[in-house]
């Protein structure tokens, strides 16, 4: 894969095939952690780190362990275990080194395990037959796209919280409608023509 193609893949995974607005992966933390910009940024960083590392590790696990032993059908189980242990490690690391971020992310950190974007990224790389480097570029780009989406969304939500919304729309419904509008604007990116 040439450098230009890499760049195309990176841009397309950030903007065009955005995990949140186009693939619907990682909606739970997207809705749950976007009320404040600071937590959104923290969650975005954690997801970026975990997604890139876990995709690299799961790619190796798949190609060096599962394929040689013809155990491809066990990939979901193997991947989720790898991701769960990585999240544990990250949690221990944050608790010791960055306690402020640790307390901010609170209960959501263990929930990265059940963030479907992480497992989805690992599975997509296998499904689309990406090689090692492409997988890393793809997962890093996707994670950046996720971070961008959640941070933009948190800006909007902070504003929406101050305005008057109809009673039955308060909270999640208006958040979903807002997300829909952002998704609509992201759909505009699908017209971008990238050099392949």
């Amino acid at each position: 894969m040439s450098l230009a193609a890499m760049f195309s893949l990176l841009i397309s995974s950030i903007l065009i095939n955005n995990y949140i607005f186009s693939r619907f992966l990682g909606i739970c933390p997207f809705l749950g952690l976007s009320e404040k910009t600071s937590t959104a940024v923290g969650m975005g960083c954690a997801v970026t780190f975990v997604m890139t590392v876990s995709t690299a590790v799961t790619w190796c696990v798949y190609h060096f362990v599962l394929v040689p032993f013809e155990l491809e059908y066990l990939k979901t189980i193997a991947f989720i275990l790898v991701i769960a242990s990585l999240v544990q490690l990250l949690e221990m690391f944050l608790r010791k080194s960055v306690p402020s971020l640790y307390s901010a992310l609170g209960i959501y950190l263990p929930l990265i395990t059940t963030n479907c974007a992480i497992l989805g990224s690992a599975l997509l790389c296998i499904q689309n037959g990406y090689n090692f480097v492409t997988s890393i570029v793809f997962s890093f780009g996707s994670a950046l796209g996720f971070t961008m989406a959640i941070v933009i969304f948190s800006f909007v939500r902070e504003k929406v919280a101050l305005s008057e919304t109809p009673k039955s729309f308060k909270g999640t419904p208006i958040a979903l409608v807002t997300a829909g509008l952002i998704a609509l604007s992201f759909a505009g990116f699908s017209g971008i023509k990238l050099p392949f």
Binding site: I16, Y73, L124, Q127, N128
Partner: protein, 211 residues
């Protein structure tokens, strides 16, 4: 004393987790054992159905044979040819090339399975080629593109445009403009290129056979 009980506790916990893992692994392995042949069969069945559709006018019906290849029969169920897998290394996107021969061993056509990257994920295509290396027909086997946009490439008005095309057709800008669906460029363009790529690969294969 305490250390020992601690160790025992860890050992028991680990053992329990291991038992659960072993149980689940056995379960999944059992299900895999039951389903794996059927899954392979399903994948092949789609191709066989598409091929039967393409060669319907010639009265040829394709089905999946017991050894995992394809069988060709006429409407009454008599074998009327063979479908051989050209077992070679191909470029990335090409999954398989089949050579379709009639009863007398004459090449009747080729069939190429290719899976280009679409807008989101891979698209599985089946390209049927005439013996003179022009496209006979194209079928979309599986696709997960956006509803209402990317899935337009399934429509006959798009796929019919490829009939009769020769290798290198995608190099002409006018040709590309005519083929590509505006508004679904990022799905229709890779499909067009992949079909041309399949023809190119086939050209190499035919060239080798001629030598």
């Amino acid at each position: 004393m305490e250390k020992k009980s601690n160790f025992a506790y860890i050992a028991v916990t680990a053992l329990k987790l291991l038992i659960i893992c072993a149980f689940i692994a056995t379960l999944v392995a059992a299900v895999n054992f039951i389903t794996k042949d059927r899954i392979v069969y399903n994948q092949k069945l789609n191709t066989a159905l598409a091929l039967s559709d393409i060669y319907e006018d010639d009265g040829k019906v394709f089905s999946v044979s017991e050894d995992g290849g394809y069988e060709i029969k006429d409407k009454d169920g008599n074998p009327v040819g063979s479908c051989e897998n050209a077992d070679e290394e191909f470029s990335d996107d090409i999954d398989a090339v089949y050579i379709i021969k009639d009863k007398n061993g004459e090449v009747f056509g080729y069939c190429i399975e290719t899976s280009p990257m679409g807008f989101k994920d891979e698209i599985d295509l089946l390209v049927a080629v005439n013996p003179d290396a022009t496209v006979k027909d194209v079928k979309v086997i599986s696709l997960s593109e956006t509803k209402g946009i990317g899935d337009k490439i399934k429509e006959r008005t798009f796929l019919d445009k490829f009939q009769g095309k020769k290798e290198g057709f995608s190099l002409s800008n006018a040709e590309m403009k005519n083929i590509i669906i505006s508004g679904a460029t990022r799905t229709s363009e890779p499909v067009t290129k992949a079909i041309d790529g399949a023809l190119k690969q086939l050209g190499v294969l035919i060239g080798e056979a001629a030598e």
